[in-house]
Assembly symmetry: C2
Homo-oligomer: 364 residues x 2
């Protein structure tokens, strides 16, 4: 869309995850968001950046990541000013992450509106995505104290997602949030989906930074104080040192749990775009083209014989021959090969924990 970008619009792309459910492709040293997992020649981070760059001023795009990944982010987004990459010295989930970027931004731009979004989701309908985000930004511009979260229309009773219950209201496009529920059991998830009053939590939310800071001050005063005490360091050469001090004292807490579930003016905007969280190998299976036997082949050459419903990936030019396998995930990397039942993929995460326990860290 050829409209002018609004200089108050900002985005913080959260890119600090380790993507352990995508092992052995995703590794601690180079997790999912830095991989070309969709076979487009671009990493998920690059794709996410470009999706926002269409309607957010590029100098207003920030990446919040682990300190360990700052160099990788630089490499993947060389056009990005180094100051726009925030390196967290510890993994403390999303609450400290949002506090950090909010404090920093508020100082520079008191009228900043902020979108927070994960780096590793798949959203192909970019125009619809832009429309949804701009809609949310316009809504918060009018209702300055509001928080808007993007809701995804559920297609099945997924037990791995968070659900948002909203208050249905005719002729509205944006709704008041009633409840948040994290990872329900299957029975509950089924009820949620059938009721029509629930959306998946897409992990994207929008608010004014001053509104975010007020919410931290009220609902997570300890976290607020930690950052506030060091306020004068932000956007100076002292910032890195201050953050090194602050983070170890922060609780490990999600923004949803610490803030969103507690504040009053929370709204959900149902997305008009298709969405896939690319959380697991199955989600990658879902979005990819299948061959006649419903196999997803993520590399070439792959020869399948009497093999069905598998997702198969190997290094470039490695030949894979598979006969008689059904519903498996076959992932081959230079130093690790995994052959795993597709319907047990949630346990892949525990695999990496087992490797850690066995001190086989070089495979993590």
């Amino acid at each position: 869309m050829a409209q002018l970008k609004n200089n108050n619009h900002h985005v913080a792309i959260m890119a600090g995850g380790i993507g352990s459910r995508f092992w052995p492709k995703s590794r601690i040293a180079k997790p999912k968001q830095f991989l070309d997992i969709t076979q487009t020649g671009k990493s998920l981070l690059q794709i996410t950046y470009e999706r926002f760059a269409k309607f957010i001023p590029e100098e207003n795009i920030y990446i919040v990541t682990s300190k360990d990944y700052v160099a990788l982010v630089n490499e993947h987004l060389s056009q990005l000013p180094k100051d726009n990459i925030l390196g967290e010295p510890a993994r403390k989930n999303t609450a400290p992450c949002i506090a950090y970027i909010s404090f920093k931004l508020q100082q520079k731009k008191p009228q900043a509106q902020l979108i927070c979004a994960p780096a590793d989701h798949l959203i192909l309908q970019e125009e619809e995505f832009e429309k949804t985000c701009l809609h949310a930004l316009q809504f918060t511009a009018k209702a300055e104290n509001s928080f808007v979260t993007i809701g995804i229309k559920p297609t099945h009773p997924n037990t791995g997602f968070g659900y948002i219950q909203f208050v249905p209201q005719q002729n509205e496009t944006i709704f008041k949030v009633k409840t948040f529920t994290e990872k329900p059991d299957l029975e509950l998830a089924k009820n949620f989906v059938e009721s029509g009053e629930f959306l998946w939590n897409g992990g994207i939310f929008i608010a004014y930074t001053h509104n975010l800071l007020s919410a931290f001050e009220k609902h997570l005063p300890d976290v607020y104080e930690l950052f506030q005490k060091n306020e004068t360091c932000f956007n100076t050469q002292l910032e890195a040192n201050a953050i090194e001090k602050i983070y170890p004292q922060c609780p490990n807490l999600s923004f949803d749990y610490g803030i969103m579930e507690k504040v009053k003016d929370v709204f959900v905007l149902p997305a008009s775009f298709d969405w896939n969280d690319l959380g697991t190998w199955n989600s990658l299976y879902e979005v990819n083209t299948k061959d006649e036997q419903q196999n997803v082949c993520l590399s070439q050459p792959i020869m399948t014989i009497d093999a069905r419903n598998n997702i198969i990936s190997a290094e470039k030019e490695k030949l894979v021959v598979i006969k008689g396998l059904e519903n498996f995930i076959v992932i081959d990397t230079p130093d690790a090969l995994m052959i795993y039942p597709k319907n047990e993929e949630q346990e892949i995460k525990t695999l990496t924990e087992e490797l850690k326990a066995k001190k086989m860290t070089k495979y993590l």
Copy 2:
């Protein structure tokens, strides 16, 4: 055994096969006999050489192989005089191979007794092997016109082997051969095994070279003539050129079919040793130590979870994680990964033919 070696005793180790049923580990450029397939740090060829070197004078050990593998043989058996490696310019099965070594040897040693044996079988009881071979050599020394073949007591109705029917005779250790049957169907194989009158053809046979040559002259006169015409070239610098001319004119023919099934004085000596032809992944599965779930793991580290009866091999230090797989062959090499049902392993050979047809020769 500390007895003197007999200078008339010779062996020709046949090492020209391409081992396509061991794909993707066995490749045309480096087939099975050159691999450390038994995880001993030695190739099958080296092990076979050493097994014979215990009772055959080392200068009497010959390797007949494809011209393409002469350098590899040199590398694996650096102690072997270069003249003891015979490079065949074309793959013509065993009949031309035996004719070649017999002509060459007869010229040097008119009283040569020759054992012909494959390079890639697994025989662990080396003393018993020596006893059996010496027994056969002694028998042919007495009965100069005889051919002795080593028979293996069948343990199951294998349809991939040749069977030798013998004339049972009390108080004998060596028996007259009645029939040869190549790869019977399952029904027939069962009858063979139950009858007690059949042994597997171990592919090892013993005869005087002059006797071998007489047999060629009588039963394969064309082949005999081809070699005989060039006789003066053998064991001279003209040999390689002569062989280049002879081989293309030779028929592709097995020694069993062309000679053994036709000559009169054929005997079979039942082996007193255990034998495995290492012909397929299953045969390797059989001879290897199993874990508690009956998996054979040929490399480390391998993590199996609810996985049973598999044979698994990867490169050194490559981590393999397998869950929920049963009765599979999983072979990972740097440029090819194969996951194949264990009970369909006979088709692995056709796989390599398919690769050839698809011009994917770099994986062969």
